[in-house]
């Protein structure tokens, strides 16, 4: 974020940098771990990095290549940091933009209810301090409470949201306290949570925490004229009794001390009804606020990051599908989606040798950038570049830098067109509740291209669409077809609106924009004529189609046309490997790990990790010098889903003793010396303790668990198979 404005001048200064800066910088960058915290340093090293190649040109390549490799690795690292920081900043502002609407609503609500409370009574200070309730007209004192529905069962995404909300409210002058479910525990009771409430508001908390302390604090001049907001971000996890008590207690005082609640609800409004007694609910004056649903956020993110090439990095169809399914199937949190994306990005830059060229997108003059970058490339990599599968498919490339640069430029250009067309399509589909992510998945599908070439008017799975809408996994062109249909039945004014937006999206592509323009012009006079018809059209829905047909048809045709022309998936373009991440397998293994299984495998194959001399010889046969746990784990393989502890122990003991005897025979086998020294002949008790410890470890790592109390002599295996 802070880095980007700084970028341009620095990179402009590239060419006049003396190259000796490089090594220092390289050292600095190399020493820096790839984390967003160290971006500052990397940016410091940034200006110098391009030069060396221009400097290094005269010297022969092969002597240099290991230095090159290290250099390019470092370049890629830097590229990753810059690009990811760009993406990250985009994400942040998108999400902030979404949240801001809610925040303003909350603030407005706070002000309204504060004025409402003050309208009832405006107690003077010593009235507030008095322990008695104020005698007013209100029949029941109720605490204004905003239920914020974060429409996601997963809570992760909303932690930051509520933190920002707190900041927002505080900045606008409210007193703020955040209570979490931890405070609302039955163990600490009402006293505990009230004390922590005070601790957040008062400077010094008296040893007896009761409301009067709060009252006298509130009476201080600087505190007096703002409401106190209490944010409880995870309502479901609170203990209902304690929360109810708190509500009852504060409701007695709400007119004197305006305390409002903001409660985050992950699921539905039934949660508070289930949680609180009707007595306590009676004391709340609720109102409902909703956060943008995850899919909305997702759409916004996809548009900002993936569709608009904000930082020349994109992902292939497979990866998209994988991420998408990961989002919908496993945990629908934006957070994990983003982290997955980050993972993909880092993988891309670590694996793809040419990936550092992505930086070019961030440069203001990418052609030149690519040019001298490519000039600097050693032969090996240049060859590699033209050996990219995408290029081999493409014809007549003389392996010169110009082709490369041209290729990349066309790539970018086509990407732009692609994205704008996609956005047009989304704009059209939005009225039919088509999710951008779905269209995106179809748009990046490489066999879309083939379909386009053999342009089959997409078959309309109208019946499927409903069925799919539950379990989204876009295949073929289902959603696109849906969009097409949607256009055909759009009412006039929305259609006009759509065209408006199109002309904005398509600004880059003049000829299509003209078409849109003239379409609009036709519609303008058309709909004046059709204005009368519109009415009964809407009444008789059946005839809507043919009534507005000619125009809708035109628009649909236009869309189809541009789709066919410009909606070229990135994977069908030469050089796309440079900017596009394709390797699903890596991502998948990184995201959906199977920890237990991994633990078990490592335990079984511990020799291969340790590479110790003693075990390598013995090979498959278990040697006693292994770690106890891995011995046990190996032994466990022989049993079924329950293991008889005694047998297990016997075989364990056998192995240990055999090793000990071995040790005794040749008393100087280096690695196991110390161990054997500590326990010359392994005592029974010692073995038993080792056994127990090993069992406990396996239990803790989740490979074992105790069976019922009735069978103390058995344990149960949880993981199976090597």
């Amino acid at each position: 974020m802070s880095a980007h404005p700084g970028d341009a001048p620095l990179t402009a200064a590239n060419n006049i940098q003396p190259f000796f800066v490089l090594h220092k910088a390289a050292a600095a960058a190399a020493s820096s771990v790839p984390s967003s915290r160290t971006r500052r340093r990397i940016d410091a090293s940034l200006p110098s990095s391009p030069n060396p190649k221009s400097a290094k040109r005269p010297r022969d390549v092969d002597a240099q290549d290991e230095e090159d490799s290290e250099l390019y690795e470092q370049l890629r690292l830097e590229a990753f940091h810059r690009i990811w920081s760009r993406i990250q900043s985009t994400i942040d502002e998108v999400l902030r933009g979404i949240n801001l609407k809610l925040f303003d609503q909350v603030l407005q609500w706070v002000q309204e209810s504060f004025s409402a409370i003050r309208a009832v009574a405006k107690p003077c200070h010593d009235e507030v301090r008095q322990p008695y309730p104020l005698l007013t007209d209100v029949i029941c004192r109720r605490i204004p409470t905003a239920f914020v529905l974060t429409k996601n069962a997963e809570f992760v995404d909303d932690i930051t949201t509520f933190r920002d909300l707190a900041g927002h409210l505080q900045s606008s002058g409210c007193h703020l306290a955040k209570l979490s479910a931890a405070e609302f525990s039955v163990k600490h009771g009402i006293g505990g949570c009230f004390r922590s409430l005070l601790r957040q508001l008062l400077s010094d908390v008296p040893d007896v925490a009761d409301v009067s302390a709060l009252a006298s604090w509130y009476c201080e001049a600087e505190n007096y004229d703002q409401p106190i907001i209490v944010i409880i971000d995870d309502l479901e996890q609170c203990s209902g009794d304690v929360l109810g008590e708190l509500v009852m207690m504060l409701s007695e005082w709400v007119i004197k001390i305006p305390i409002f609640f903001v409660m985050g609800i992950a699921t539905t409004l039934d949660a508070p009804k289930k949680l609180l007694s009707s007595e306590a609910l009676q004391q709340l004056e609720p109102c409902k606020l909703t956060l943008g649903s995850p899919s909305d956020r997702m759409n916004a993110l996809v548009e900002a990051i993936l569709v608009k090439p904000c930082a020349g990095f994109c992902i292939s169809h497979e990866v998209t599908m994988f991420l998408r399914n990961y989002f919908f199937r496993h945990d629908g949190t934006i957070t994990s989606f983003i982290s997955a994306l980050k993972l993909a990005c880092s993988k891309h830059f670590s694996m793809e040798p040419l990936s550092f060229l992505c930086m070019g997108v961030l440069e203001e003059d990418c052609e030149e950038f690519w040019h001298d970058k490519f000039e600097a490339l050693p032969q090996v990599i240049q060859k590699y570049a033209f050996a990219l599968p995408s290029c081999t498919s493409a014809t007549n490339l003389s392996h010169s830098s110009n082709d490369m640069v041209k290729g990349l430029c066309t790539l970018l250009k086509l990407q732009k067109d692609w994205s704008s067309v996609l956005l047009c399509m989304y704009e059209a589909g939005r009225h039919d509740k088509v999710q951008l992510l779905d269209i995106f998945c179809e748009a990046v599908n490489p066999d879309l291209q083939t379909q386009n070439v053999s342009n089959a008017e997409p078959p309309v799975f109208k019946l499927n669409i409903e069925k799919l809408s539950g379990m989204k996994s876009g295949s073929g062109k289902v959603y696109m077809a849906q969009v097409m249909n949607a256009i055909r039945y759009l009412p006039m004014e929305t259609l006009l609106h759509v065209l408006e937006v199109w002309s904005i999206h398509l600004r880059g592509m003049s000829e299509i924009n003209d078409k849109v323009k003239e379409l609009q012009s036709t519609t303008i006079d058309a709909d004046t004529a059709r204005a009368t018809k519109e009415k009964w059209n809407r009444r008789s829905t059946g005839s809507t189609g043919n009534a507005t047909a000619p125009l809708n048809e035109k628009v649909a045709l236009l869309l189809q046309d541009i789709t066919r022309k410009y909606l070229v998936p990135v994977e069908c373009l030469p050089f796309h490997e440079i900017i596009c991440f394709k390797n699903v397998g890596v991502l998948q293994s990184a995201l959906i790990g199977n920890p237990r299984r991994m633990v078990q495998l490592d335990l079984l194959k511990s020799q291969s990790h340790l590479k110790c001399s003693c075990c390598s010889r013995t090979g498959t046969a278990l040697s006693g010098s292994l770690h106890d746990t891995s011995i046990m784990c190996n032994l466990a393989q022989e049993y079924g889903d329950v293991i008889n502890l005694h047998d297990w122990y016997i075989s364990f003991e056998g192995i240990i003793n055999s090793r000990n005897s071995k040790v005794k025979r040749k008393s100087y086998s280096s690695p196991s010396k110390k161990k054997s020294k500590s326990t010359p002949p392994e005592s029974e008790a010692m073995i038993q303790t080792r056994f127990c410890r090993a069992v406990t470890e396996m239990q803790i790592t989740g490979l074992l668990r105790m069976t019922s109390k009735r069978r103390p002599d058995l344990v149960q295996r949880i993981t199976f198979g090597p």
Partner: protein
Amino acid sequence: MSQPVTPRRTTRSSAGSASDPASPSKSRPKSTPRRQLIPAASKEEEGEDERSAINALLEALPGRRAQASDLLRLLAPAPALPLLLYGGAATGKTRALLLALRHIRPRPRRVAYAALRSLPSPRALFASLLSQLSPPPSSSASSRQRVPDKPSDFVAALRDALASLCAQGEAVYLVFDNLEVVRSWDKGGQLLALILRLHDLLRLPQVVLVYVSSATPDAYYSMTGSVEPNHIYFPDYAVDEVRDILMRGHSNPKLYTSFLSVALKPLFRVTRRVDELGAALEPLFRRYCEPLGDLKAVPDESTKRRLFEHIQPHLAVALNETFSVPMRASVDQCKDGNSGVKASTKRQFGSRDSLSTELEFHMSVSAKYLLLSAFLASRNLATLDAALFDSTGGSDNHKRKRKSSQASMNMKDTMVEEMLMKGPGTFPLERLLAIFQCITSVSEDALNDVECPDSMMNGSGMTGLMSDVLLQLSTLCNSNFLSKSRSCPLEGAARYRSNIDEDLALKVARSVSFPLSKYIYRR
């Protein structure tokens, strides 16, 4: 904490406003006429203001004539036995007491009020009482150190404070409000005995103890002190009294009466608590006024009839909901906001348990399946799993359950009873996972045609779902759909219970197009 001591020689007016509990007269310029009326009464000459005081009280306490006069008689001249005000919630006990304390002659030297609900602990109670009785300056700094936590110390301190106050033979009133909550405190019994026996412990005739409780006196017999307090009973309000209360301070009484004549009686059959009635009636009245142009107009018969027609359906809704949460329409979405409201009301007309078919919140598919399987696990008996899940379901403990299922099928009605009694049953993690596997494997084929043919799809398909199932489980526990009973991290012997109701489960099932009803064991 407590208002300053007012020496008798101050002018009566200042004494009047300063020494009565919550007198708004001077401090609050813009106060309703009724509120000003009370100090006005209290400013009159002591001789004949008995009547006017009573009138003022009755003015302020509709439907509480008997209680008010009793209060005045029993509280009044200083040596008095302890007094217990009891009656249901929201019957105006505290209000009546506070107003009465303003009116009694001779004026109380000091009123110490402790609402036990807003005092989380005995220490807090002691602290607040002592700080109200001892003059503020000393209490602010020094009393922080010496807050007594033993009852004996407290009584000693209290006696000292009171003795110094009562020296001139003026009355001090100790009020204990929400007495009933103390019973639920730990060692509440002892504290309650202490509070109720203060009269004996203190042996100060000038100190009058007043207890306010929503629990009936016999709740305290077990622990009561020798001197039982005199009781004053506050019954719940009758219909007309409620009407009087609601009518107060309304701009257009005619309109409101016509409204109440429609709405009050039906609601009154459901609940008699004024606060609940008030809360329910307020939004109704806003609806009632919707068709009207100006709210000042006095409605004639035809308008009344029209309004009645208008309000009828909304009244039906209001009768059947305890807690209505209005959607907040922000400035930009005002127009679709009210349309949304209409839609919701329409939905409620149809039938209150007609569920809006879509799920309001996002949940990952695997979590949904896990939730469904949890629902099934706690709804069906374990012995029926084998019967309900077909053998393709691949639940490993299959043949073991086969024969027992037959036996359990024919003793169903007894099970029905205990289902009704026990509610959703608990289940171990293994069973949950087994059912989860069945469901997912069953719905696998349903998914496959949807899934795109890529190789990796199957990788992250339902088989992939198994991987982070424990994460999903924790999610469900956090969002209170599952409750985890006895958890021991090492041996996974925790048992779970799903506490979601059927229609939510149905919603979830619909969202993943899963035939839930096939698997629920119908009684």
